[in-house]
């Protein structure tokens, strides 16, 4: 499985440690909120709301350089109900992976 990385953030920060730390702080603050919102809307079976959450999380997935997971999330967001379960499992693995990575920063 691909691993999250900070390449995008480092490039964007242009080696400025303060800017890099600012991005990491935003990531640490926003990611758990978005993940929680995803699980809550999923639990409430509100699919359109869940789609919004997946859509937002896709941006974080891309920022952390998870290209394959991004395509999977894209597919999950657009998925028909019968295909959703498998994609959901994979998508949630990505969420765990990202959260773990961000916690270790």
């Amino acid at each position: 499985m691909e691993k999250p990385n900070l390449e995008y953030i480092i490039k964007l920060s242009r080696n400025d440690e303060t800017v890099k730390q600012k991005f990491i702080a935003v990531l640490k603050f926003e990611l758990p909120i978005e993940i929680d919102a995803y699980y809550v809307s999923l639990h409430l079976k509100k699919w359109s709301q869940t789609m919004e959450c997946i859509h937002k999380l896709k941006n974080k997935i891309a920022i952390l350089g998870l290209e394959n997971s991004y395509h999977l999330a894209d597919e999950y967001e657009e998925s028909e109900e019968n295909r959703r379960k498998d994609l959901q499992k994979e998508f949630e693995k990505t969420l765990t992976l990202m959260q773990h990575f961000v916690n270790c920063l």
Partner: protein, 238 residues
């Protein structure tokens, strides 16, 4: 130029603000997580450019554009490739960037923005054919029965080749059945200059000038003696 950022994601706002900070001509005067707050702000403040996310809950980016009377220049920034086609329906939309934004792509959007603002400023002369086309910064060419869009600021050189012309852009090259004169009418004269009977160049793309030739990308283009004074006038010489 005063600009605001509207995006419901804090991370996206931070990224856009960082990209803008590299452009001294832009000044971020507000950041908003929802479009309704931004509309209230726009009613009281002068804003030149809006960096706008489309996909926001309750009130989308397009709702925002449709609500304001005289929208400023807008750069759309979104993860949705699907909305691009709608963007062409609005004159105020300068560019459409798909997330995650890269510096290179943002830079291109800024070029388009500056070009659009320049042509709007200079486009008040009713008889000026080239600036009257300032509402659009692209045109379409017919190649093998396909209409292909060309972004004018990306054009580097236009070369006459008999009954055809070759249009070179930053990334590709097109051969079109038309005349140099016809395309010259479509190009803004602030940006383009005919430097030889067979060549029109984008003066912003010049790398260097030596004797009677200019270097654009990897192409060395001849400059005719009669056109050289006008070319020299356009240069911002030290």
């Amino acid at each position: 130029m005063n600009c605001i950022i509207i995006d419901d994601e804090m991370m996206a706002r931070a990224i856009i603000a960082q990209m803008i900070s590299l452009h001294t001509e832009l000044n971020v005067i507000g950041e908003f997580s929802n479009a309704i707050e931004a509309i209230k702000y726009l009613n009281k403040n002068e804003v030149d450019v809006v960096f706008l996310d489309i996909h926001m809950p309750d009130f989308t980016g397009f709702d925002f554009i449709n609500t304001i009377k005289n929208p400023p220049k807008i750069v759309l920034i979104t993860s949705d490739k699907n909305f691009a086609i709608n963007a062409f329906e609005y004159d105020c939309i300068v560019d459409y960037i798909v997330k995650p934004i890269t510096e290179e792509r943002f830079e291109k959007a800024m070029q388009k923005l500056n070009w659009r603002i320049d042509t709007t400023k200079n486009g008040n002369t009713p008889n000026d054919k080239k600036t009257s086309a300032d509402k659009t910064n692209e045109f379409y060419v017919n190649i093998n029965n396909r209409l292909i869009k060309i972004d004018i600021p990306t054009i580097t050189i236009v070369i006459a080749k008999g009954d055809y012309i070759s249009i070179k852009t930053d990334t590709t090259s097109y051969t079109v059945h038309t005349t140099l004169k016809k395309i010259e009418e479509k190009l803004p004269n602030e940006l383009f200059l005919k430097i030889h009977r067979s060549y029109i160049i984008n003066t912003k793309k010049i790398i260097d000038i030596e004797d009677n030739s200019v270097l654009i990308g990897k192409d060395v283009i001849p400059v005719s003696r009669g056109n050289k004074p006008e070319l020299m006038k356009r240069l911002n010489l030290l």
